[in-house]
């Protein structure tokens, strides 16, 4: 995050009226997005991430709160007067216009000189690799090409921020991964603030400088990808980002008794909830050394997943723990279904959840 906030939301609330009931889609979101940042709003459908973005674009008016662009209050400014552009989930390319006319649309509306339009549209088409297809109609393009035209149509206006609403949702996996890298490259090249809405946690982790994880209309955690993954602030974040094991119990003297074993939680006492990622756990038959968190259980399922094996291990108290073990040397599993095993991990990998 560099100095000035490109976008600021201050205690923004959005309420809808539906069948005589008031539904709060966004329940007081406050956040600042830095200039040139790749910022993601991540959450399940219905969490308020798209509504939040639409309030930044100007398509929805907040019920309460303030939206600022570069320090200027734009809460009541209509979308056509806001210096941000959006890439829509459906691309929303104008079907009756050629690629060229689609990309030139914004510049024409802004009454940019003809020669300047020609230069900038030409440049943009080159960046997205669609030079020579100016006269094509959108429907004659592949999904990936349409996606890039939508991107070009927004970027050519050199907006102060680009808003992307699940832009890769309609592409197949291979293309999506290629576009993730492509998007990141374009963002670095043009240096524009990107606000990216997605429900795909791996997409958000791959591309973002910072991520706001949203659930039920509030921001659960706002941090960098590493922080979000390694130190989830809430049980929701831990569960939503990747796979996570939750262990709850009472700790005394920095140690929590769980399922015939111990979880080290240095510096904590009383009731605590701990998350530990499946890939941090070692599975074995020998009792682990002191100084490690260690629990005993029975393997209830082994799933071979190519690059790794996934074990489901039931503890004595009924809790189930997932363990990933990398398939580094050979494909044989360390343990079979029904085996009695020890699970162990280092104290630093137990992360105590705030609430």
């Amino acid at each position: 995050m560099t100095g000035l906030s490109a976008i600021e939301l201050a205690d923004v609330v959005k309420e809808y009226h539906s069948h005589g009931e008031v539904v709060q889609a966004v329940k007081g979101v406050t956040l600042g997005i830095g200039e040139g940042e790749f910022f993601s709003l991540l959450g399940p459908s219905g969490c308020g991430k798209t509504t939040t973005m639409r309030m930044i674009a100007g398509f929805e008016a907040p019920t309460k709160g303030v939206v600022k662009l570069y320090g200027q209050d734009v809460t009541d400014v209509p979308p056509n007067k806001r210096d941000v552009n959006m890439v829509f989930q459906s691309y929303a390319l104008f079907p009756h216009m050629s690629v060229w006319d689609n990309v030139a649309f914004g510049l024409k509306q802004r009454k940019v000189a003809q020669a300047e339009i020609r230069r900038r549209v030409g440049e943009m088409l080159e960046i997205i690799g669609l030079t020579g297809r100016e006269k094509r109609m959108p429907r004659a393009l592949s999904g990936g090409q349409q996606q890039r035209v939508a991107l070009a149509r927004a970027l050519v206006n050199q907006p102060r921020a680009l808003l992307l609403d699940e832009p890769l949702g309609a592409l197949d996996l291979k293309l999506r991964q290629a576009m993730q890298i492509e998007l990141k490259r374009i963002q670095r090249e043009v240096g524009i603030t990107f606000v990216y809405v997605t429900h795909d946690q791996s997409e958000a982790l791959t591309m973002s400088d910072r991520i706001a994880v949203m659930n039920d209309g509030v921001v659960e955690q706002l941090a960098g990808p590493r922080e979000i993954y390694e130190r989830p602030a809430t049980a929701f974040v831990a569960g939503f980002i990747g796979t996570s094991n939750l262990l709850a119990g009472a700790a005394t003297g920095g140690e929590m008794k769980v399922g015939g074993g111990r979880v080290l939680v240095p510096g904590h006492d009383g009731d605590v909830t701990v998350t530990v990622r499946p890939e941090k756990i070692t599975i074995g038959t020998d009792e682990p050394a002191q100084g490690l968190s260690a629990v005993k259980g029975t393997v209830s399922e082994v799933v071979y997943l190519g690059t790794y094996n996934s074990y489901a291990v039931s503890l004595a108290d009924g809790a189930e723990i997932t363990v990933f073990q990398q398939n580094a040397h050979d494909a044989t599993a360390t343990a079979e279904r029904g085996d009695s095993v020890w699970l162990s991990w280092q104290a630093q990998h137990s992360y105590v959840i705030g609430s």
């Binding site: 100007g58 056509n80 829509f88 459906s90 929303a92 914004g106 509306q109 206006n157």
Partner: protein
């Protein structure tokens, strides 16, 4: 497989019978426009002639009636398309107070018998002391064709991606520019279809027109009046030309549609 082939042949036969059945009245109309008839009636073939094409406008009452019909059809179509498109957009896009009632009225206007519509319009005009002429005919024609435009436009609007208009707004277009550059071109096929429909409904309407025409005579009214004394072959020629124009529009539309895709 033999049963299937026999079924295919039966289907072919059936299809051609339907086509024959649908097109025979048109064929007869076109054919008898070339009939070198001597008597008043035009029901038996008496030889080929192009006389009726040469003397197309020789019956001045008939020519006036056709001109009236064309003027009324054009005027009522333009008015219908403008109002109907606005209504269709509003009903397809928004839920508002009175939208349910409006939707019902649109349906009611389609299902009301023309006889009822004509009679009630006449009593409305009479009680309001409105003189009956081509203006009242236009009002009546707008009334019964409006629903068809509304229904076609509304059907198109509900399938429209709402983010198209948002994209235009987002790219700096105001409300009017968005409508002109994005919304209207997107619903244009429906607007044109609705327009053609209302033109066709207007040009051949007899029932409603006969109630509200006053002393203005339209093409269908003139023909019905001439039935008793025998329909002149010019009517066939005019019908043929109107039909030909319709075919040209339909073909042009199909070609344009193919070029678009």
């Amino acid at each position: 497989m033999r049963g299937g082939r026999a079924g295919d042949r039966l289907l072919h036969l059936y299809t051609w019978l339907i086509i024959l059945w649908l097109s025979s009245p048109i064929a007869v109309m076109i054919l008898f426009g070339f009939n070198d008839k001597r008597s008043k009636s035009n029901t038996t073939w008496q030889g080929f002639t192009l006389r009726w094409y040469a003397e197309l406008f020789d019956i001045s009452d008939l020519t006036t009636a056709l001109a009236n019909s064309l003027k009324i059809a054009v005027a009522s179509t333009v008015i219908t398309v403008v109002i109907g498109t606005m209504l269709g957009l509003a009903l397809g896009r928004h839920r508002f107070r009175g939208s349910g009632v409006t939707n019902f009225l649109v349906f009611a206007a389609i299902s009301t018998p023309e006889l009822v519509m004509g009679a009630s319009l006449l009593s409305l005009f009479v009680s309001g002391n409105v003189p009956r002429d081509s203006v009242t005919i236009i009002v009546a024609h707008v009334l019964f064709s409006l629903s068809f435009v509304v229904v076609t436009v509304r059907a198109r609007v509900v399938t429209l991606d709402p983010s198209l208009e948002e994209a235009a707004r987002d790219l700096g277009a105001g409300a009017w520019a968005t409508f002109r550059l994005v919304t209207l071109p997107s619903i244009m096929p429906a607007v044109l279809a609705g327009g053609m429909l209302s033109f066709a409904l207007s040009i051949d309407d007899y029932v409603v027109t006969s109630f509200v025409n006053g002393s203005t005579v339209t093409f269908p009214l003139w023909i019905v009046g001439a039935v008793k004394t025998g329909i002149p072959a010019q009517v066939n020629v005019m019908g043929t030309l109107l039909f030909g124009a319709g075919v040209l529009i339909a073909v042009g539309n199909a070609v344009a549609a193919r070029r678009r895709s």
